[in-house]
């Protein structure tokens, strides 16, 4: 029930605070009331029809890079 899916914001309708998002090829309208500063092209996490939080892609990349470094280091040692 606390499942969430990532999606990219394509279009924002400010009148009713909804956005058209693309979730890995699946388009849908979701509520964006919970993220007041959301912008087109942002990645968001969708839960129960609402964008719950922004996804920080840079942070995602950094975390993976950290693992990659750690794991190759381990291999070499």
């Amino acid at each position: 029930m606390c499942l969430g899916v990532p999606a990219k914001v394509i279009m924002i309708n400010n009148e009713n605070r909804t956005a058209l998002v693309d979730s890995f090829g699946v388009p849908r309208w979701v509520g964006i009331t919970l993220i007041p500063d959301v912008k087109v092209d942002d990645y968001v996490l969708i839960h129960a029809g609402y964008a719950l939080e922004k996804i920080d892609l840079q942070e995602a990349e950094e975390r993976i890079k950290l693992w990659e470094e750690l794991l190759t280091l381990e291999e070499e040692s």
Binding site: C2, G4, I35, G49, Y50, L52, E53, L57, I64, L71
Partner: protein
Amino acid sequence: MVKWIIKQEEEERASLLKFRDRQLSRKLLQEVKSRGEGLKEKLGRKPVFMEVCGTHTVAFSQTGLRKALEDIVDLRSGPGCPVCVTDQGDIDRMIALSSLENVVLGTFGDMVRVPGSRTSLEQEKARGGRVEIFYSPSDAVQWARRNPGKQLVFLGIGFETTAPAVALSMQEAEDQGVKNYSVYSVHKLVIPAMRALLKDQDLGVDGFILPGHVSAVIGRKAFDFLAQEYNIPGVIAGFEPMDLLGALENLIYQMDSGECRIDNQYGRVVREEGNKTAQAVIREFFDTREGSWRGLGKIPASSLVLQDSLQKYDALKRFPVEISRPFNPEGCRCGEVLTGKMIPTQCEMFGKECTPSRPVGPCMVSSEGACAAYYQYDFRE
């Protein structure tokens, strides 16, 4: 231009999909195994880690990680499956609501087959009780708008993640003048449940894998008390293989080096303070009350009820139902499973009298239930 956009999107997606990368996961699994082996030797037993989120329970089973690591870590499930922790009396009340004339019950789906004391929503449905499954509470409001002759009662089940969406659905109903929409809120809060769990001296949990999406709402800081007051480390984790393994690696490392912190490994979604707008929405629509939990009993300030000013959306005020004394399914050990005292396979009925097609308790019904997850992925005779 179009090509460029597509390329950029591919890269963006790739950075999210990296958390599922097989090669990387395999390496991290090896790392967790070797470090875990060391810690196990040092402790003279397996370290015990608990996840308090049903989605994590399922992810550990689905990815095969629970099985792959069964000799190294003891993974327990906590009270993280919203349907499973719902009290029997509340389930009976929902079933009673569904059999009222003109009332249609709206739910997220998981609830439909949960056995009540005497019957289930599914059985009531066969007898003419109406149940509709919705992906979002907002869809339920729209359904109500299109069916003015019916009363739609939405079951607000879930934790801090679901509560804001249900709150906003009432706002939507208000804005659009939809009068035949109401909510039965059995929303629950994770922190009070964890505190209740920790009162048990024999809990024996060495570390917590903390719920990623609840944390997105309440923030990393909200879990600091675990380390500060109880000396138990925790990691906030996402739901991909790299997230799960990363959390285990982190906990093993913290234990091994005698550290004790609440780390956030789901920084791509979870912030220190959480989502303040979502927190404000919860505060604006709900009050906290004592709540009854399956397995944990009554816990002060652990459930969310509609604020007094929202009485007109309160399904139980609009349709008061009487229920007979609820009783839990005989022999079902869901309570123990939900508090980490037992793993599902230790229940005598597991896989025998109780299977997903003929569930005895809610933990075998819900797609997030530990018994269902073990049955589907971990248990092979």
